[in-house]
């Protein structure tokens, strides 16, 4: 199609690049096809039409453009000639318009081979004088305005040709824009607009989950659905748009603002997210010429809104107006970045372009959707009136992974409801709009008829007694009790209670350990028609006292141990230790009372937000409903054998208490231990006597990992907390398929459990097991804050109705009325407000999503801890998490600093020791091995020999010299040139090289006539931040980046040596250690080998550089064969004066004055500042002390440089710039801490990187703490208060500290403590997490080898990174040696 001709190649614009990459990722999907049909009611002269369109092609270089890649970089080639004939198709004989539509729809899905063609034009005859012009163009070269230009130009030409007029039209070429954008990019490098967009996107980053969908693998398939805005609505909207308080500059701008407001409202309502961004294509045609140029101009910028509580349409609109004005001001060509593109998943495409009527032909166009769309755009909303008909057209393109077919039907209805609400009253709160459709509501309210069971479950127990009197009902310790024995005991107790004056309706507190007595007390109380109030044994005295008073108990059944300290005037205390005789004298028969339907069976106290517990009153009918349902639902072939192993004060235990006894099953009672945490659950699993169990996920986590292959468990009911699928799966796998696991949800206020799901490993693949569907006679309502039912998928608060609802809180009508509301969906009924957030998933099961009220504020941001937890939990290695907000005070020690008399090292340096003469231990020990270090250093002759040893005709360069622009590296370069070597020079532009240093670099490289390249990476700021977190300085990250990028350059250019300008002092910071010189015979090959080995490990360390840059070459040993790293100053002992003279003469180097210090890097001081704050001394103290020790600096020079002034304002500005969270540095800080349990500790940076993918920076915990186990409350939930109470020091060290258990572990621990400069290390602590890097590995290994006379390899410590593992290895090696 394209003739060989004059071709010009260009790079792609920012927008083209984004589209090109999108197409590359989905090569088979026509996701960027822009197809239109234009109806032309004429008998078309085909030849004239072909000619007219050819003219347009001749004038539009965009249509003559093709795309190709070279070295993985995409280019566009503009061809000077393209002869094109539109295909002609005749459908006029077929009288079925649908056939034509189908043909068009199929044709619009062609996938362009971008190297061959970029558009497709067909003239379709549909009647004698009616044609459709079909024009499909790849988005790479078109946008809406382009379509209108091409349509207009073609028709204009066509009529000119018919009339015989001379065609005299021209269109400006797109290549003008290519040049313009390039120029703009340069101009805009650091301007206000660029900063504006950076700020905007920084505030975002978490995408709203549309209808709660957390989908990552998205299809490109999308369906376009129309939202019928009839002429009445269009008219109404236009009327509102004309209002003075609504209107903006132009009617179009007003309409845009209105639709933005409507879309923000819609997104807020279907995602629950308040911080929202919508991608809005900017026309981006900044000059008259560009307005007439065909090609891709649009660029997508975000429009941002922060919804606040009580927002009305008008308040959102008013803010949107302002943001739109900023949008218009700052949407400048070429500014869109990948970060910006990632900040939204919804597009508002408000199209101004219009197809004009022409020569009496009314424009009648149709935009054909190819049923595919960029998957990053989960929702696209198009608003246009192409043909100026007065009716606003609104379309949604809905990604089919996010919107299932039901939602694709409902979503437009929801948006329409929002539009109608807006039309109806712009002042109404946006949270109040009822968006669910009537059909949805009807289906949501199905099955909400609730029957009330009118009986007490005590009759179920008694019928089991009658049926199986001699069957074992209870085992407790070594004792067994039959049903009739238990019944007799209960009857005796009831008779005794009656004697004491306790009557039907009275309350009896049961303050007992788990025991047979407890069960008979429960049964006895119920037989009497009284209410039992269980109070577990570990409750503190004050709390028991409070409950006794609050519940107005008539009697307390307890024992000596538990009741001794209780004081009570009104209450009869039945001390079972003393009253046994009396009770056993009572009659063993009692006729149970019939209680009223509303009579209270039990009162359970739960923690209240006020600090005082609140008593939940559960009626006999509610209890009967739950037990009766569970009997039928959980049923299995054998009779139930349950353990009683959880707290009696927790309503979860109700299941185990009653279910076996009302079904003829057996209850095995495990009493709590008299001291320490209640871990009966472990005993239950070990004994393996029960086939059924009820417990919390946190309990379950305790037994995760124990061998359960022989377990006889068949039924496991899990409740009380969010239940992770990872845990469910691990238990299912370890017990096997015979076990059925249920997730039972229910607040105490709705009787134990009211929503349930059976775990299904195939179906339940999300983070948590869904809580499921409501049980019999219970109803669920998912409501918004205005109590409207929300559509399926949308997150709302869970409200419960039905016969399981509690009768309220005892003695607390106010709270009862707040939580138990009038049920608007059922007559004469209540509904309970749970405070839990839920949504219906696609399978119709409810998912639990956290608490409404577990919301914290940090730095002004409102944060849902559950949100962070859910995301953290998605990390594949994590079992359980808890995130808490901690207040901690950081105490900085302001002790006086003393500096070593010889080297200047400060006393704040860790583990430093001074002798009586004020000389540090490093100086003193150096004196012992100074001579040996001389062997390591060499001469310049050696260097020349080395660098010329691999001379080769094929090599252009002998070596790559790293140039920072500072004096040391400049001297290196100048000397290398002086030596007659061919050098390539490399500088990392980290974004903070001072201008003068850069000028130095230019001057030097020019003067020396040497080839120079700058390396750079877009990830530099992330690397700085990571380095600040890991090393508390910026230099480490920068150095590693330099090594990584320069190695790549060296390999690409076949260069055998990379020469560094590290000072000798820096050798001791990064390469050398005392230990290397311990050997009597210091062998430089051994040292070099060790250093090389350490370098390999260094590049394998998991950090930002490894994760963000290409470091694949370091995994290959061949890299280190091809390439050697040479430290110039190993071979040169030049003095500072000599150096400066040489530099002045040979290199033209000038000391920079714009960095405020002796460095050439501006951000350096930010690193020093952080290091000083965090570690209490400058990161330069240590290398400089070595420079002094080796005679390259004197002490005063070193101290002067170390104590240089730091401009804190400037530091804070730079830290902001790179995205480092400064609050880390502030005292008295509040911080988020992520606690997690997993098999082993996970590097914090991994967790951070994992979370950063899902959450904005401000939601990322500042610390992560690995725990062996989560601390649990008495009820088996995670005890967040206990986590919050941990001190800073406990946070830093391992909570489960395990001291060395043998001599070898002690030896290793001692060495680690010295090298890592720590006070306490547990044997399970991880070397790398403690900050152990390659140099520390050298030191530790050398010390161990010297101590044990072994020769362990350096990498062992990374393979076996804990003291315990390493010690096992040592032991095995020593054993082997002994045996030899």
């Amino acid at each position: 199609m394209i003739e060989e001709n004059n071709i010009k190649n260009f790079e792609l614009t920012q927008s083209q690049l984004a589209i090109y990459m999108g197409q590359l990722l989905n090569p088979e999907a026509p996701l960027y096809n822009m197809a239109h049909t234009f109806e032309i009611p004429l008998s078309i002269d085909i030849e004239a039409f072909q000619k007219a369109f050819q003219q347009v092609i001749n004038e539009s270089d965009a249509l003559r453009t093709l795309f190709f890649q070279k070295n993985n970089i995409p280019y566009q080639s503009v061809h000077s000639n393209l002869k094109y004939q539109s295909e002609i198709i005749d459908f006029s004989t077929i009288n079925d318009r649908q056939v034509v539509e189908n043909w068009i729809s199929d044709r619009s899905r062609v996938v362009f081979d971008l190297t061959k063609n970029i558009f497709d034009s067909v003239l379709i005859k549909i009647a004698d004088s009616k044609y459709l012009w079909y024009l499909n163009i790849h988005h790479l070269v078109t946008d809406a305005t382009t379509s209108t230009i091409l349509y207009k130009s073609t028709l204009e030409n066509y009529f000119s040709i018919l009339k015989g007029d001379k065609i005299s039209f021209s269109l400006p070429p797109y290549s003008n824009y290519l040049a313009f954008e390039k120029e703009q990019l340069f101009i805009n490098q650091n301007n206000e607009a660029k900063q504006y967009w950076e700020e905007k996107t920084k505030s975002l980053s978490k995408l709203p989950e549309l209808y709660g969908k957390r989908t990552t693998a998205l299809t490109t398939k999308s369906e376009r659905v129309s939202i019928t805005l009839d002429s009445r609505r269009s008219q109404k909207i236009k009327e509102i748009a004309a209002r003075q308080d609504i209107r903006s500059f132009t009617p179009n701008l007003t309409l845009f603002n209105i639709f933005s407001t409507l879309l923000f409202t819609y997104l807020y309502r279907i995602s629950g997210q308040k911080q929202l961004a919508i991608g809005v294509p900017a026309q981006n045609r900044p000059s008259k010429g560009f307005k007439r140029t065909p090609g891709l101009f649009i660029e997508i910028f975000p429009l941002v809104s922060s919804i606040v509580d009580d927002d009305s349409f008008l308040t959102v609109l008013n803010r949107t107006k302002i943001d739109t004005n900023n949008y218009l001001r700052y949407a400048q060509p070429g500014l869109v970045t990948r970060e910006i593109n990632k900040s939204f998943n919804t597009i508002l495409n408000f199209i101004n372009a219009k197809f004009e009527d022409f020569e009496g032909i009314p424009a009648k166009s149709k935009w054909i959707h190819p049923n595919h769309c960029d998957p990053a755009h989960q929702l696209r909303c198009h608003v246009y009136d192409f043909d100026d008909s007065g009716e606003i057209m609104v379309y949604f393109d809905l990604n089919e992974s996010v919107f299932n077919s039901e939602m694709r039907t409902n979503a437009p209805e929801h948006f329409l409801k929002i539009i109608d609400a807006f039309i109806n009253d712009v002042n109404q709160p946006i949270a109040s709009v009822d968006i669910a459709t009537d059909e949805e509501k009807e289906s949501l309210l199905v099955d909400t008829k609730n029957d009330i069971l009118d009986y007490s479950i005590i009759s179920d127990f008694e019928s089991q007694v009658a049926k199986n009197p001699e069957t074992i009902a209870i085992r407790f310790k070594k004792q067994k009790f039959t049903y009739s024995e238990i019944n007799n005991k209960a009857n005796q107790l009831t008779n005794y209670l009656v004697k004491l004056g306790v009557r039907k309706g009275d309350k009896v507190a049961l303050h007992l350990e788990r025991s047979t007595n407890y069960i008979t007390s429960v049964l006895g109380t119920l037989k009497l028609g009284a209410t039992f109030v269980p109070i577990s044994s570990e409750q503190p005295k004050e709390r028991v006292q409070y409950i006794l008073e609050d519940s107005n108990c008539k009697a307390l059944i307890s024992n000596t141990k538990l009741s001794s300290k209780l004081v009570s005037k009104k209450i009869d205390i039945i001390n079972l230790d003393k009253s046994t005789e009396y009770i056993e004298n009572q009659s063993i028969t009692y006729k149970s009372q019939v209680s009223e339907i509303d009579a209270i069976a039990y009162i359970i106290y739960t923690s209240g937000s006020t600090g005082k517990p609140k008593g939940v009153m559960i009626s006999n009918a509610s209890l009967a409903n739950y037990i009766n349902w569970s009997k039928g639902y959980y049923t299995h072939k054998d009779s139930y054998i349950f353990p009683l192993c959880t707290s009696i004060g927790f309503d979860l235990t109700i299941t185990s208490t009653f279910l076996p006894l009302v079904t003829g099953g057996e209850l095995i009672i495990y009493t709590e231990s008299s001291n320490g945490p209640d871990i009966s659950i472990l005993q239950v699993i070990e004994d393996n006597l029960v086939n059924s169990i009820k417990l919390t996920p946190s309990h379950l986590a305790l037994i995760e990992g124990s061998d359960m292959s022989k377990s006889i468990l068949k039924l496991m009911i899990v409740g009380g907390e969010d239940f992770k699928t990872s845990l469910a799966n691990s238990i299912q796998n370890s017990v096997g398929d015979n076990l059925r696991i249920f997730n039972e949800y229910g607040p105490t206020e709705a009787t134990v459990g009211c929503i349930v799901s059976m775990y299904n490993s195939n179906l339940h693949i999300g983070t948590s097991v869904p809580i499921g569907m409501p049980i019999k006679n219970m109803s669920v309502y998912v409501l918004d804050s205005y109590h409207n039912l929300v559509p399926r998928g949308v997150i709302g608060e869970l409200y419960l109705g039905g016969s399981g609802l509690a009768k309220g809180y005892i003695q607390n009508t106010k709270l009862s009325n707040e939580r138990f509301l009038v049920n608007p969906f059922q007559q004469n009924a209540k509904m309970y407000r749970t405070g839990d957030l839920v949504r219906f998933n696609d399978s119709g099961e409810l998912e639990y999503l956290g608490r409404v009220d577990e919301q914290v504020k940090l730095n002004g941001f409102r944060i849902e801890l559950a949100d962070i937890e859910a995301n953290l939990n998605q990390h594949p290695k994590i079992n359980n998490v808890a995130v808490v907000l901690m207040d901690s005070e950081k105490k900085e020690e302001s002790k006086e600093v003393n500096n070593c008399k010889e080297c200047g090292l400060p006393s704040s340096y860790p583990n430093i020791d001074f002798d009586d003469n004020n000389v540090c231990h490093l100086c003193n020990s150096f004196k012992g091995y100074k001579e040996k270090t001389d062997k390591y250093f060499k001469t310049e002759e050696d260097l020349i020999q080395l660098l010329t040893s691999k001379k080769d005709a094929n090599r252009k360069y002998d070596c790559l010299s790293l140039l920072s622009g500072g004096k040391d590296s400049t001297y290196v370069l100048a000397r290398l040139i002086d030596m007659g070597l061919n050098v390539l020079t490399f500088t990392l532009d980290n974004g903070y090289i001072s201008d003068q240093a850069k000028a130095n670099i230019t001057r030097i490289t020019e003067k020396l006539g040497v080839d120079h390249i700058y390396g750079e990476t877009p990830h530099m700021n992330k690397i700085f931040v990571d380095s600040l977190h890991r090393h508390k300085n910026v230099c480490n990250g920068c150095f590693k980046t330099i090594y990584t990028l320069s190695t790549k350059v060296a390999l690409e250019n076949n260069i055998p040596f990379v020469v560094t300008g590290l000072s000798r002092g820096q050798f001791f910071e990064t390469r050398l250690s005392e230990e290397l010189f311990w050997d009597e015979d210091v062998n430089e090959t051994t040292i070099d080998d060790t250093i090389l080995e350490a370098r390999k490990l260094y590049h394998q360390e998991e950090d930002a550089v490894k994760n963000l840059l290409d470091t694949s070459m370091f995994a290959l040993d061949s890299t280190f064969d091809k390439l050697q790293y040479v430290d110039f100053y190993r071979y040169s002992d030049v003095s500072l004066t000599e150096m400066l003279v040489f530099l002045k003469e040979k290199a033209g180097w000038v000391r920079p004055t714009d960095t405020g210090r002796s460095t050439n890097c501006l951000i350096n001081q930010a690193g020093i500042h952080v290091h000083k704050k965090e570690r209490g001394y400058s990161n330069y103290s240590f290398p400089y002390s070595w420079d002094v020790r080796l005679g390259h600096k004197n002490r005063d020079e070193a101290l002067e440089e170390i104590n240089e002034y730091i401009d804190e304002d400037e530091v804070h500005r730079m830290l902001d710039e790179i995205g480092y969270n400064k609050s880390d540095l502030d005292n008295n800080k509040k911080q988020l801490i992520g606690f997690y349990t997993s098999k082993e500790k996970i590097p914090s940076v991994d967790l951070k990187l994992h979370l950063a993918k899902q959450l904005p920076e401000y939601m990322l915990p500042s610390k992560y703490k690995h725990l062996k186990e989560m601390p649990l409350t008495k009820n088996g939930k995670i005890d967040k208060n206990a986590l919050r109470a941990l001190s800073d020091i406990q946070l830093e060290s391992d909570v489960v500290y395990v001291a060395p258990t043998n001599e070898i572990e002690e030896l290793v621990e001692g060495i680690w403590k010295e090298v890592l400069q720590m006070d306490q290390i547990g044997i399970h602590d991880n070397f790398i997490s403690l900050g152990g890097h390659s140099l520390a590995a050298i030191r530790v290994t050398a010390r161990i080898n010297s101590e044990l006379q072994t020769n362990f390899a350096l990498n062992k410590i990374f393979e076996l990174p804990t003291i315990q593992e390493y010690a096992v290895y040592i032991e095995s090696q020593l054993m082997e040696l002994l045996q030899q």
Binding site: S248, P286, L328, R329
Partner: protein, 81 residues
Amino acid sequence: MNKAIINYITDELLNETLEDNLEVDDDLLGGGILDSMGMMKLILFIEKEFGVKVPPEDMIIENFMTVSHITTYLEKKIKLD
């Protein structure tokens, strides 16, 4: 002030030439002389030319309907500054 604004609009912003010369009281927005992007360019020009900053809150029809509205607004603005 009027003249500078009129010249800028006529030279830089108009898509097509007007039949009559642009007058200070011509409705720039309602009359379809400028679209919203054109208005934003005019504001950027004004900011540069007269050294004022037009905050987004001030970008309303009442301040920018005609050239004379603009100069009234600017005079007020300059006085305040």
